[in-house]
């Protein structure tokens, strides 16, 4: 491989380097120049976190071979403002709270800057189009739009720059819109996430993952990989010194596959090497002999007698069943004037935090094994790892690096154990950064659900009984399935006082990608079915949807589905406020959209038609203000 010599200007400084010919501009900026403001969210041009200017044009640096930037002027997030300063766009992001986890934010700030440079008068539709290549998973974009419009106004001189400063505090800091303290480091790209961190003498890890959904591991031969120049170690489950196994509720998952693999993408072995490429090449030298086993991919089939067994400890493939019973459902249905019965389903959903999993482990001078990672549960991870590596708790230390989005998806200890083992084996810092594809196949998802629902009601809309049965595919490992089933069962029938109910939620093992914790922890799946049923009932009874909810809502003193007496309950106020805020026109939900009088209005947006800039005069070469 011949080196590539490149000369370019980066943030107004001349740069001359020799680098590898296959490097992307993103690699060059991050690895060769240590400019880590541009992030790698997907590596495929689909998320925009790596956006930089090349000769004034915004590009995705993960899609640009570095040679293309040769002779060009590159501007990164670090170059937008002098150190300690922020541009109006950055200040506006700070002011409006447009950064949450912050991982997409350098790219988003670059896109916003580009939008206002291209057209300082851009309207909101054009701004949205110009941000269309940048994904944010936290903010819902709303505060970002607000920030760009604010910056536009300040740049145009229509708004005083002082508007971007902190609001004065009143009598208390409680209830005050204090600007986020972490925003300046996020909008300027200075905050270092785990993948941005470097330590001297650090190794790079790559993971060999299962190509099979269910297979017995007959043998693993790592000798050829271990013999490669630049490889520091290869680890497998054989290297686990203590009691292997992790999980949020049941410790059924080994650090790396032990004896068999249970899903595609499960870690089988890992290599730590001097550089990423060597580690990747070493993976192809590891020989794993598999014997494929029949797999189970459907949660209903998983419960059938004779189905393949995923875990020996659970011969019926049930991870957890949660029952909730209250009153007498037979009597309740007998008292009903209307009985509705239906089925609902929800899909597996990815957290899609913009920061893929990443971490560093090292052994400190006091023989403490330290793991730095964006973990949502360092407390529990420390406990589990101490058993796995057989060390006292105070010899295991977890540091939570800035989390680039979690949503429950970073509660599972799916890679920290491998890092710890490699650090212990080499006594060198080891870093592992997942690719997006790796994150997708190896991390847990939102549980898909199949709900069978039966609801009885009287003519006046009072629910007399509910039968609720939910089946979820938990995938190959238990992770948070037990808790998700519990929460789904507790919340199942919604915020309504139901005298008679029979609720069952069950998660089963399959050989699919595991399901785990995800924002609402089962609550969303269950209440989607309930809230659909409420509208179907309202239609059948000719009632307004707010009204039927009021008839049944929980109040102070109500007994919940688990028979807890509520000492506070605000649904009455919440429903009233929603009805008023939305200018809701009363009526039964009989598909009356075309007759409604409450549609549109200033609290809705215009439909997106695309092309906001097309019918405007050419602005590309036109006026340019400093954005």
């Amino acid at each position: 491989m011949s080196k590539l010599k490149i000369e370019l200007e980066v943030n107004q400084r001349k740069v001359v380097r020799e680098t590898e010919p296959q490097k992307r501009l993103l690699d060059f900026l991050r690895e060769d120049l240590n400019l880590t403001g541009a992030k790698e969210g997907c590596g495929a041009g689909e998320c925009g976190t790596c956006s930089v200017f090349v000769d004034g044009k915004l590009v995705k640096s993960c899609l640009m071979p570095v040679a293309k930037a040769s002779g060009c002027k590159v501007e990164t997030i670090e170059g937008l403002a002098e150190p300690g300063q922020l541009t109006p766009v950055q200040k506006a992001f700070h002011k409006t709270g447009a950064s949450q986890c912050g991982y997409c934010i350098p790219g988003m700030v670059m896109a916003a800057t580009s939008a206002l440079r291209a057209n300082p008068d851009a309207g909101i539709e054009e701004i949205k189009e110009r941000l269309g290549g940048n994904i944010c998973r936290c903010t819902g974009y709303t505060k970002i739009f607000e920030a760009v419009e604010m910056a536009r106004a300040v740049i145009a001189g229509d708004m005083a720059p002082a508007e971007l400063e902190e609001d004065a505090v009143g009598a208390s800091y409680i209830g005050a819109n204090v600007r986020r303290l972490d925003a300046p480091s996020k909008v300027s790209g200075r905050l270092k996430y785990a993948a941005d961190m470097r330590m001297p003498d650090m190794l790079q890890m790559q993971v060999l993952r299962s190509p099979h959904a269910h297979a017995k591991i007959l043998s693993i031969d790592t000798s050829e990989a271990e013999a490669m120049e630049g490889v520091a170690c290869v680890i497998t489950s054989r290297d686990v010194p203590g009691q292997d196994g992790f999980g949020v509720f049941v410790h059924d998952q080994p650090i790396m596959a032990r004896g068999k693999v249970r899903h595609v993408g499960e870690a089988v072995a890992a290599v730590a090497a001097e550089d990423l490429l060597t580690a990747r090449r070493a993976l192809s030298k590891i020989r794993v002999e598999y014997q494929e086993l029949p797999g189970i991919f459907d949660p209903q089939e998983a419960m059938e007698p004779g189905a393949p067994v995923v875990h020996d400890y659970a011969p019926g493939n049930v991870v957890k069943h949660i029952p909730v019973r209250k009153g007498d459902t037979a009597a309740g249905f007998a008292a009903a004037d209307l009985v509705l019965e239906d089925d609902f389903s929800t899909q597996q959903v990815e957290h899609a935090y913009l920061e893929p999993e990443a971490g560093i482990a090292y052994v400190d001078p006091d023989d403490v094994v330290v793991v730095i990672s964006p973990s949502q549960n360092i407390t529990h991870h420390r406990h589990m790892l101490s058993h796995i590596i057989d060390k006292p708790i105070n010899k295991v230390r977890f540091i939570m690096s800035p989390v680039g989005g979690g949503f429950g998806g970073k509660e599972d200890m799916i890679y920290q154990g491998m890092l710890a083992l490699a650090a212990m084996k080499t006594h060198r810092p080891v870093q592992l950064n997942f690719t997006r594809e790796e994150s997708l196949i190896a991390s847990a998802k939102r549980h898909p659900s199949l709900v069978h629902y039966k609801m009885g009601l009287t003519k006046d809309g009072r629910i007399t009984a509910i039968e609720f049965n939910m089946l979820s595919d938990g995938g190959a490992y238990g992770m948070s399935s037990e808790g998700v089933m519990r929460k789904a069962a507790i919340l199942s029938c919604g915020p309504y006082e139901v005298e008679n109910l029979k609720v069952d939620t069950t998660a089963v093992y399959t050989n699919n990608t595991p399901s785990g914790a995800f924002r609402t922890f089962g609550g969303m799946q269950a209440q989607f079915a309930t809230e659909s049923m409420m509208d179907m009932a309202a239609e059948a009874l000719g009632m307004d949807p707010f009204e039927i909810r009021r008839v049944n809502m929980m109040k102070i003193g109500s007994r919940t589905h688990t028979q807890q007496e509520l000492t506070t309950a605000s649904l009455d106020r919440v429903l009233d406020a929603a009805e008023k805020a939305s200018r809701w026109e009363t009526g039964a939900p009989v598909s009356r959209g075309s007759q409604r009088g409450d549609l549109g209005g200033p609290d809705t947006r215009a439909p997106c038609t695309l092309g906001a800039r097309i019918n405007q005069p050419d602005v590309a070469a036109g006026k340019e203000k400093v954005a």
Binding site: M1, S2, L4, P21, Q22, R24, G43, A44, G45, E46, G48, S51, K57, L58, V59, K60, C62, L63, M64, P65, A67, K68, S70, A111, S114, E129, R130, G132, G133, N134, L277, R280, T435, E437, E438, I441, C608, L610, G611, R613, I614, D618, A620, A621
Partner: protein, 306 residues
Amino acid sequence: MLTCDTYHMPTGLTEALTLWSEAPAGSRLVSGATDILPWAREGRAGDVHLPAMIDVTRVPEMSGYRVEGGRVRLGANTVYQDFLSKDDLRRFLPCMPYCAIWFADDQIREVATLAGNLVNASPVADGTPPVAALNGEVELTRLADGKLARRLVPVGDFILGPGKTDLAEDEIVTAVILDDATGYGGSFQKVGQRRSLVISVACCAALVKTDASGTKFEDLRLALGGVGPRPIRLTEVEEALRGAEISHGAIAKAADLAASKVASRSRKEYRRDVVVGFVRAAIEEALGNQPGAPVEIRGAGETADV
């Protein structure tokens, strides 16, 4: 990930063709690079090692555009953003801005080329229907005895099937040649799972020109993408409307005729349903986008066949 031994950036066409003809087997030409890098990842090609990558974006003979004899010659390095940002291209090629705004996003439009989109020969490429509607030809160049040898291939013949083109081993696409459609109204319809940065399920490009009175179709061009291995030019529909009175009824009839042309293996029913609406909307929007006085579409709207 993508690795290579050498990355070339030739600065002349002869140099590029020479490098290309001498490159070791397995080497690749690179233009915008917006597809090759995502291709060499897990789930697609996985890790790929190329002996050489030959980047043609600094070849001046492949850059820029010019109008000759009612045709627009776009150098192969013309990027999608040019269709939005360059006034004269917007005038010459009235359906291209609408295609471009649906194509990917600003960042990718800055580097992705129309020629590259055609070479990828994806059945769901956004670029092929408007090129077909503009009677597009692809200019292929190779070295023959040290001299440049060019040939022109209509886009419908250039794309042979998913990922397959008529490009010979030693050839490079050097230009895309399209009708100058100044005065036409253009439009582009697309549906995917969202509005930005999405691969289309189906798309439709239209060009419309009315007669001087604004009551009849003088000319009409329609092409569909995503409904078969190649773009489909709806010549029968065009014929049926050429010279016809502009009315909702005529447009609806044309749409129904278009649906019968749809023959995609997957999601056929959905695509057929979409096409009916798309053709109607494409014609109506193209009429609305025609420069000059607004065009009135007569007759009541008919109930869509859904």
